[in-house]
């Protein structure tokens, strides 16, 4: 045995665990022990979990580090562990065919990781691991060497803007709160990541919870809050668990609690579990929810920074915003501002998903082009289909078309073309996606998440959805299109909170760039062949081999036929579910 040190890192975010990360981990534990490797290694042998490193589509990802030589494996299952130990760890020869391929490196090479720097490298359940990568250094600096105004000035100079959606300058928000005199102030970390298709907040808390805690403590100290809340979705059990653990560890080391680091400053953080309401991502609704009320927003002003939780000055920052803070303090405002564009500084984490090869979590400097993101980092479109659009900003955002792929991704540029950065969802759509259906999907979402307080959102989104439904079943008229556009604009203008104001964006943006698809539906056609009611399935008798696969897949018994003879489809019974189309291996099921 020649190895001096062995380190195994298993990706155990939600994606990693879903792919069997816990089983892989257990296999390493038991087999390393059985092989007696642990005892024979000089510098030690450790197998530990790490948080999400972004490319969950290739989970379970495993790093094997023998004497500082790192090899990364993809798609690892528990039954592959034995060979890894045998050949790589004992034999010193990495298992070539399981190593990550070029696209793994492409995925990571064009990224710049600030927030995600340590996600996937350190054990998220160990505060010492965090301290080992300079964790809590920034807090110490702020608490011991900087006046509150100096800290706020650094954040202002860095140009950091809120990562939750609106992009309000963080330093200014802190300053406003600092200037408000009050016996009690609060800082709230908004981890109610509700956008469907976004999971950066979950990954940050799962992968590096201490960075968020440190960011909160720095904020609290600089504007004088003694109580913090993390409002987090209950749908993220792993993140919640790691957060609780991290808070306990931080208290033990006196990064939280009474008389923090001997400065006389008290600060602690409570966790509030969301109960399932997208609208609670809106500041005033979030506050109502913490206060135990229905999460209904109220009109602003007054803004939370003047009158927030229990009527006290309150700063609400998003997870990613807070996770940026320690790095800015450690490396300086200039360092942060060196990334990004003139008005959008630093990096931004995006959840790149949909019809893209390398879907996952990415962090890029603001100003990176969409083309780089989708085709270099993302590796292009799955199954080499044709790119149609990319939807950014989730239900509040819009679609961006192919001719705009060279657009720089930052707050201003995306707003200019009718979309938003939002919380960072980026969903790639291909030729099989119907844009009317996409708009309908988002409207369905916002409509069901509307709190119901204001008329434009409560009834307006419902009527918008009804018009879209009418269009997708081929019953829409030209007047419906006019009505849809007018109503969308009025809902945008008149709604009380951000949810209602932005809910029509997916409709307006698809109407703007894909009006032809809407018009096709008026004629009873869905060009992408996605709208169920507009399709007819048929079986091509000449191509059909009579294998019976479609017959078995059909849930309504609409397909009949003897074995090895062409099958027939009864249109009366067909519910247009597409199961036959998906199962047929001979392209003999037609869809029109």
């Amino acid at each position: 045995m020649s190895a001096k040190s062995i380190e195994i890192m298993v990706c155990m975010g939600t994606g990693g665990i879903a792919a069997g990360g816990d089983l892989v981990m257990d296999a390493f534990y038991s087999q390393l022990k059985a092989a007696g490797l642990e005892a024979n290694v000089q510098k030690g042998c450790s197998a530990h979990k790490v948080g999400c490193r972004g490319l969950c589509a290739k989970d379970v990802l495993v790093d094997v580090i023998v004497d500082d030589n790192k090899a990364t494996y993809e798609y690892i299952k528990e039954d592959m562990v034995e060979r890894l130990i045998e050949e790589h760890i004992k034999g010193g020869k990495p298992v070539e065919e399981w190593l990550v391929k070029e696209d793994y490196h492409n995925f990571h090479d064009k990224q710049v990781k600030v927030v995600l720097a340590d996600c996937g490298n350190i054990d998220p359940e160990s505060i010492d691991a965090y301290i080992g990568v300079e964790g809590y250094k920034a807090q110490e600096k702020v608490f011991k060497n900087l006046a509150p105004t100096e800290t706020i000035e650094i954040i202002k100079e860095s140009g950091l803007r809120g990562r939750g959606g609106a992009g309000f300058p963080t330093g200014f928000k802190w300053e406003l709160c600092f200037k408000n005199e009050s016996d009690q102030k609060y800082i709230i970390c908004n981890a109610d990541e509700g956008d469907p298709g976004a999971f950066m907040d979950r990954s940050v808390i799962e992968g590096n919870p201490h960075s968020v805690i440190e960011g909160m403590a720095i904020g609290a100290f600089s504007f004088g809050a003694s109580i913090g809340y993390v409002y987090i979705r209950a749908e993220y059990p792993l993140a919640v668990e790691r957060l609780y653990l991290a808070l306990d560890q931080a208290r033990q080391k006196n990064f939280l609690g009474k008389n923090i680091l001997g400065t006389g400053f008290d600060f602690d953080i409570k966790v509030k579990l969301g109960a399932g309401a997208f609208v609670c991502g809106e500041e005033t609704a979030l506050i109502a929810s913490i206060e135990g009320e229905r999460g209904m927003p109220r009109a602003k002003p007054p803004f939370p920074v003047n009158s927030g939780l229990w009527g006290k000055p309150t700063v609400i920052n998003n997870v990613e915003t807070l996770a940026n803070i320690p790095a800015i303090i450690r490396n300086g405002a200039e360092w942060f501002a060196s990334y990004g564009t003139e008005k959008s500084k630093g990096t931004k984490v995006f959840a790149l998903t949909g019809k893209v090869k390398n879907s996952g979590l990415i962090e890029i400097p603001m100003g990176t082009t969409l083309r780089t993101i989708i085709f270099d980092i993302g590796g292009g479109i799955e199954n080499d289909k044709k790119f149609k659009a990319v939807q950014t900003g989730g239900p509040s955002g819009g679609c961006i078309t192919e001719d705009m792929l060279d657009l720089n991704v930052d707050f201003e540029s995306l707003a200019k073309v009718g979309s938003i950065v939002g919380s960072g969802g980026m969903i790639v759509l291909d030729e099989d996606n119907c844009m009317v259906d996409v708009a309908k999907y988002f409207l369905q979402f916002t409509q069901s998440e509307s709190c119901g307080k204001c008329v434009p959102c409560r009834i307006g989104t419902k009527r918008l959805l009804e018009i879209l439904e009418k269009i997708t079943i081929g019953e829409g008229t030209a007047e419906d299109l006019v009505r849809l556009e007018k109503l969308a604009k009025d809902v945008q203008s008149a709604s009380l909170c951000g949810l209602g104001m932005t809910a029509p964006n997916p409709v307006l943006s698809t109407l703007k760039y894909f009006r032809d698809e809407y018009e096709a539906h008026l004629e009873g056609r869905c060009p992408a062949k996605a709208c169920r009611q507009l399709l007819t399935y048929t079986i091509d008798a000449e191509a059909c081999t009579g294998c019976g696969a479609c017959k078995r897949a059909c849930p309504t018994g609409a397909i009949t036929g003897e074995k090895k003879k062409p099958h027939a489809l009864d249109q009366e019974l067909c519910v247009k579910c597409g199961a036959c189309f998906d199962t047929c291996k001979f392209n003999s099921v037609g869809r029109e």
Binding site: A57, E193, L273, S359, G578
Partner: protein, 167 residues
């Protein structure tokens, strides 16, 4: 006092008292109390909620308003097995609706009902579980299934149903 759902308040009072009393004299407790009651009973029995509201001197209507506002709360008992289909955007564009339709049909669920009559299955959809890179995602009894195919999931559910039959 026994409700239609078979919930007996009297037998649960002691436990409930413990759940509720730790929130006395603190602000903003409606949601955590309901979360605790649901954790305890698996859903929110009417009698338990009313009892808690009266004990804390918070109007019952407030509890009902909160319980119906948040999608996490259930006012009726749920099935023994919970199948959650994620319908986040990534899952949607990758066909989560097909999975949902398939399971709805397989479980014979009429419109507006999401728990089977025999209380074996509850089928729900959730907005996004944040596991978009492995979309579509189906969670069966808390186990996350990534890159789920309708047929595979249907098979798993069928198997679970058979196990229940034998049990």
């Amino acid at each position: 006092m026994q409700s239609q759902t078979g919930f007996k308040l009297a037998t649960s009072l002691d436990e409930l008292r413990e759940v509720v009393d730790k929130y006395k004299d603190t602000q903003g407790t409606t949601i955590p109390i309901l979360q605790d009651i649901q954790e305890h009973f698996g859903y929110l029995p009417e009698e338990a909620v009313e009892w808690a509201a009266d004990r804390l001197e918070i109007p019952r209507s407030k509890f009902y308003g909160v319980a119906t506002f948040y999608s996490q709360f259930y006012l009726t008992p749920r099935g023994k097995n919970i199948v959650t289909v994620c319908s986040g955007t990534a899952c949607h564009v990758k066909g989560s609706e097909k999975i949902l339709n398939r399971l709805t049909r397989d479980l014979n669920l009429p419109e507006g009902q999401n728990t089977t009559d025999d209380m074996i299955f509850t089928l729900e959809k959730v907005n996004c579980v944040g596991a978009c890179s492995i979309a579509p995602v189906v969670i069966i009894n808390q186990k996350v299934n990534g890159k789920a195919a309708a047929s595979k999931i249907a098979l798993q559910v069928k198997k679970l149903g058979k196990e229940e039959d034998q049990a």
